[in-house]
Symmetry: C2
Subunit: 620 residues, 2 copies
């Protein structure tokens, strides 16, 4: 019997109340039918999250910067191995709980349309094509290619979702059909076409008046209709109650639940679906619709092998968590996600130079990890990574806190800089300053007010630069920051996003020339948020490399290597990549089309030894 048939047979034995109970994320057991309790909520954006020790890969935005879809798929395969290893181990305790299951609520394929959005670092950047191919690679790695699905991937947040965090529960995004299809929905369709994702998560916001988790247009007409999506839809957490409480499109939870289920939202993260019984009594929803939803959910559970002993993933051992292979893979991804933005020749660094490593992100574990994260038990901060490879004296001075106006520490930084040949300034922000609603305790509660470094860091940077030593500036952030001052005044500028548990080793690999940098920016680096439309304006006009009319500091796709690469386009789909410099390097070839605006339509990452030429062909 197929998974669908087994689901149908099982669901046919359930009472209406039992069916409804299975549409909650924390589905209870139905003992008489041998159905164990199952909690659908797990997180795995860049490693198994929220359930303790795991390999913490670079944040999604950093993996996007690798422009390496094959590597992304390999990483996702490692992540899903760890999800399975945990699931197998937890199951042996007799049951599983939240964050212990196989249904993972990632990837976040929203478009990072404005650099102020706090959750932008969970995405693959501002370009729909890059987002589509990275999302596809992630899904393939997570879901596997076996008889059973290894884990379920969930495209989120459908759709258009991208801030502001402070208004997400009532926000109504107004978008043109052109922007909707060309920008906001493009990657969803691409992933559905290319990777058959198990699930889609509806967003908190409304689009053109319809709350996403209950939108006829977005769910019925487009997702299930036009896009032919065959999986299940889950609500964002609490989003169904938002329909009556904040969007005020319905009068109560029963109406909200009915509206959502009737439009194809099968699973509820939250409590609203307990009102489905009331809704049915009021005639707002019929049993057939409920049955169809529950059949989809049990098809997914059967397809994950939850009821079978022969599932090929049942024996992935706990020891693979943070194993050497995963750590090596993690380091490679971190290397490829680091973007070199300026280099006057100081890099790669002579390892005999005395170094002062300065800044609040230099020895910060939090700077490695971003949000939706596990706990690494083996990691290298930027400082530790540099120490591991430096052959001369290394001084460290924190210099200042990320935000607090405590200047006591600046004097130590000056002393350390004076004691060195080269200063490596490790600055920027972390997930306590950009993230989801509630991440930050100020009025923006997660979003950035602007693109500026905190004032205390600017002051530190100015004082260090005034000393006249060579300075390498390393920026940690999941989003565009205004790096104009660093670009003007520093000898080298590196963007390392949130580089994961191996971030320090990977940075040192780049700094000391063990590998050539090969990352590219997955977002435009603007000079100021003032150059952009208001944050709440969802029109794409004057946003992203496609439509921005100003001059960015560093454009989308920008990223230097340590060698001299020449691209020679033989024809529209064929290019010869020549390495005329003295470093072997990875190199991402980007193919653009003009429709009529410039638009990415192809990515291939290749390794080119110095003196060699590699021919790259794009299929389409």
């Amino acid at each position: 019997m197929s998974f669908e048939e087994r689901a149908k047979e099982l669901v046919a034995k359930m009472t209406f109340a039992e069916k409804i109970s299975q549409m909650r994320y924390d589905a209870p057991a139905i003992e008489r039918l041998g159905v164990p309790a199952y909690n659908w909520w797990n997180e795995a954006l860049h490693g198994v999250a929220r359930t303790g020790t795991a390999t913490v890969f670079p944040q999604a935005i950093a993996m996007a910067a690798s422009f390496n879809t094959e590597l992304m798929q390999t990483v996702a395969s490692a992540i899903s191995d760890e999800v399975r290893a945990k699931y197998n181990a937890f199951k042996q305790t007799g049951h599983t709980e939240i964050y212990e299951g196989l249904t993972c609520w990632a990837p976040n394929i929203n478009i990072f349309r404005d650099p102020r959005w706090g959750r932008g670092h969970e995405t693959y950047g501002e370009d729909p094509y890059l987002t589509g191919v990275m999302g596809t690679a992630y899904i393939k790695g997570m879901q596997g290619e076996g008889k059973y699905r290894k884990t379920d991937a969930t495209l989120k947040h459908y759709a258009v979702h991208s801030g502001p965090e402070s208004r997400r529960h009532e926000f109504n995004a107004r978008v043109s059909d052109k922007d909707l299809y060309e920008t906001y929905l493009w990657a969803f369709k691409y992933c559905i076409d290319h990777a058959d994702p198990s699930a889609v998560m509806g967003a908190y916001n409304a689009v053109d008046g319809e709350p996403c988790c209950a939108s006829k247009k977005l769910l019925q007409d487009i997702l299930y209709g036009e896009f032919g999506f065959r999986g299940y839809v889950v609500s964002d957490c609490g989003a169904i109650c938002d329909i009556n409480n904040h969007h005020k499109v319905t009068k109560n939870e029963a109406e909200s639940a009915a509206l959502a289920v009737n439009n194809g939202c099968d699973l509820n993260c939250g409590t609203a679906y307990q009102w489905l019984k009331t809704a049915a009594a009021l005639g707002l929803v019929d049993e057939e619709t409920v049955t169809k939803a529950v059949e989809k959910l049990f098809t997914a559970r059967f397809r994950l092998g939850m009821f079978d002993d022969d599932c090929e993933y049942n024996h992935i051992p706990y020891d693979i968590i943070e194993c050497d292979k995963h750590r090596a893979l993690n380091r490679q991804m971190a290397q490829e996600g680091i973007v070199l933005l300026k280099n006057n020749g100081i890099l790669p660094l002579d390892s005999s130079k005395r170094i002062a490593v300065i800044g609040p992100n230099a020895d910060s574990v939090r700077a490695l990890l971003a949000n939706y994260k596990g706990i690494p038990s083996i990691y290298s901060t930027l400082l530790q990574g540099i120490r591991n490879q430096a052959k001369a004296h290394v001084d460290y001075a924190m210099g200042c806190d990320l935000m607090k106006r405590d200047e006591d520490k600046i004097r130590e930084a000056i002393v350390a800089a004076n004691n060195s040949d080269v200063v490596i300034l490790c600055m920027g922000i972390d997930a306590s300053l950009e993230g989801e609603e509630g991440a930050v305790s100020d009025v923006n509660i997660g979003d950035k007010p602007d693109l500026e470094l905190p004032d205390i860091q600017k002051k530190l940077m100015e004082k260090i630069i005034a000393l006249g030593k060579p300075v390498i500036f390393v920026n940690v952030s999941g989003s565009c920051m205004n790096l104009t001052y660093a670009d003007t005044n520093c000898d080298a500028v590196i963007q390392c996003f949130y580089p994961g548990a191996e971030g320090g080793n990977a940075l040192a690999d780049i700094l000391y020339g063990k590998v050539s940098p090969s990352g590219r920016l997955p977002v435009t680096f603007y000079k100021s948020a003032d150059d952009l439309p208001p944050f709440e304006d969802y029109s794409m006009e004057n946003r992203t490399y496609k439509f921005f009319q100003g001059e960015p500091l560093y454009p989308f796709g920008y990223g230097l290597t340590y060698t001299d690469i020449q691209e020679n386009w033989v024809d529209e789909n064929t290019v010869e990549i020549s390495n005329n410099g003295s470093f072997d390097t990875n190199y991402s070839v980007l193919k653009y089309e003009y429709i009529p605006h410039k638009s990415l339509c192809g990515i291939k990452k290749v390794f080119v030894k110095c003196g060699e030429t590699v021919r790259v062909h794009f299929d389409k």
Copy 2:
């Protein structure tokens, strides 16, 4: 000219207002006399503190547990080298600021009379003799033996000070003369007799009605009189204002300042001494008294070489901070400060055993550092230390937070334990749960309410023990905790206090038998605070090993090694130490006298190879 003569000559040129200005901890420059500004406040309890990167040695209580006075002096010498290195570097920026000077406000030689006191971990424990000899060793190491003083050490807090933190600004300790001399003042006198400390800091509290910083009895009669102290006295920070605001012994700051200066408190940490001009106008203090105080302060500054180019410490380089030599020394001190309390033979651990390291203090940097601390840029958490030496698979699970009732993490700990041969539970508290006024945000604001592990940790421990795996319990705390349950149910129990930046490596050295443990408890480990008198009762009756009438879990001085040591006392002052086991070990010989209660009166730490006998002679 002697330092005293130079001071006298300089001070003679000062106006009265200038003199008063020099009695503030943040003394301004007197440019016409070539006197630079100087901030007297620096901290160096277990490494240079509050001024960035430094070698962070084990907390004072852990160093006391080494019972190794020679090692203590070597450590203090390393600390003062780092103080000097920082001072030299900061001076090159044109001036020095707070925490950049040479006058260090340590050691804390208060008696840890009650395990609830939050600041107890800053002390050398409950025994006056141990406190006296460790304090002496610290002072000698800090002050050096050169022409100039390397740094100034400051005995604090004079006197009787030991909680509660919540009432320290108004507390009046009532003590008998017997307890005063035998317990609370004993170590002050010992240090003055044996190490000539530069300074003494007055305490916040009052003793028998007299606020300590202005006490005729404590300062004039005892300290300067009976004890013959020749240095300067500094107030604790804000303590002079407490005299009128909280003790209400005076009516205003002018009266408080006058009372303090008249009784010999020469330097004010705080703002009260700005009222000395008013006090003088009112006839409360005379210029001669002020002059004498300022002469003492400038004698100290001259003696520190601040005005001389030939000071032998002017060229200690910045590179010695955290240098290899200091790190090796740090590791040795950490090894010697770890106390083995129970061992059923599981230790030393077979390195081929699969390990699960579990607990909120396992991968915590804060657990290493305690309070009054610098920032280590190289460190090993307990987990990292174990990983560095384990030869088999190591799993890590945090298990729970230190205090928060978040049980999600316990399930991961169970999985990790089930995946291992041996569990190492790393529990206890850190300086966010015991410390100075303000360290903790509950009603105790720094003190412990009792001796219990937080409930969530108890629950985690019970669940792990229920699995039936061998368990090694490692407790991190700066004070006695009730370890009864661990003692009954675990295979080994280790107390590692706050072991400093090399704490993880040192713990692993012990666990895997690289060295035999040799630490001893510097405090009694009681079974419950209920066995003790009320915290605010300053009588020594029924406190410490000397007077406690109950049965402790582990007595003062307790500590196991990996070998079989026999003590054979040849006569009252001579003992033969035979190592009849199979491990070389360090061993602290303790000599007691009975006066009539048992009282420590001699310590010698020796290295005894297996099969050998070492003869130890005590002089007195």
